[in-house]
Symmetry: C2
Subunit: 206 residues, 2 copies
């Protein structure tokens, strides 16, 4: 289970970018992404599986790990590097049973209680958020804030911690200073699809 | 791949019955069901997985096969007997790869063209519908009708064929006569939750 979280953790969103997951993956990697998560809430599983396969081809060409949001079966089928699970998805221990000891399993939490519970689960990293208000999710959980992030970091000094939700080039430094090992970024990278790679480079310079 | 389709193929729906999948499974089996498919479109995968586990305990107690709608990963995790896939779900060959040669795989089709294509896939049975108008699905496909069912039967004389959509005690005989090996029933069995077992018995007597 040795998965090194990069500082910037980009996640695809075809609603925001208007691009395929493979194309978003290519642009993000061109901008220096060291991991990509693909997330798809509109397509059926069949189409998502095809999209994941195409994205994985791109990721493999560049040796970049690819994480699939939600679907453990698609992760297995395409042979992706891991899965990112939400509170309503299959639980991490179930995913671990299916994916084996070497898959990367990430898990979203939305408050200190969930984060502490998650730390005992067979996961490689824990996500916490939304740190700031976000427009990416239809029914977002209450904002955790930097203070909430600090509290999670204090309670769980060891666990690899990804902060997510409303993170931009303006606030990313404060999020890292509050204890995140990594920041997940969606809108701020994808909103201008023609310069995804440049946006990715800018984030890496911050 | 020797799965014998029973004449009546009940499918659970907690929206209609107001009951858990385990409770619906118990009542259907008490009424003589020889297979049960559990279908869940509202719960997250984690809760569906728990519901499937509970339903499988009931099914195993009675030696009745349990089929999971849509989620191949949940089918694998709980060790159910098979999965039923729709046109938007993972394709049957992907499910077969994950579930192995002995799992039951069913596949929904909605017209002759889809049915003929499906017949070449690694499935155990093919579902065709909606035969009649139905209220169970949010955006139902165009009605296939008995004539459409007959056309599928003529084109595919060998494949185990499940008719679905709007089937009631009043029209079930005509559906079998049109060539179905089995009829999937939801609303007509579940609408009166207090007499699911009796309704199941009535269907079996038809």
């Amino acid at each position: 289970m040795s998965f090194e979280l990069p500082l910037i953790y980009p996640i695809t969103d075809s609603n925001i970018s208007g691009l395929t997951h493979a194309e978003q993956t290519a642009r993000l990697i061109n901008g220096g992404a060291e991991v990509v998560q693909i997330r798809e809430k509109n397509l059926g599983a069949g189409e998502f599986c095809e999209a994941a396969t195409a994205a994985l081809v791109v990721a493999r060409e560049h040796g970049v790990p690819l994480i699939i949001n939600d679907r453990v079966d698609i992760t297995l089928l395409v042979g992706a590097d891991g899965v990112h699970l939400g509170q309503d998805d299959l639980p991490p221990d179930a995913a671990r049973r299916l994916l084996g000891p070497f898959a990367v399993i990430g898990y979203s939490t939305h408050n200190l209680e969930q984060a502490v519970a998650a730390a005992a689960m067979p996961i490689n990293y824990l996500a916490i958020g939304p740190i700031f208000p976000t427009g990416t999710k239809a029914n977002p959980d209450p904002v955790v804030g930097l203070e909430g992030l600090r509290a999670v970091r204090r309670a769980l000094p060891q666990i690899p911690l990804v902060a997510i939700g409303g993170i931009t080039s303006k606030n990313v430094r404060s999020v890292i200073q509050a204890g995140a090992d990594s920041v997940a970024v969606i809108s701020a990278l994808l909103r201008e699809p023609d310069r995804i790679d440049e946006s990715m480079r800018e984030f890496k310079r911050l």
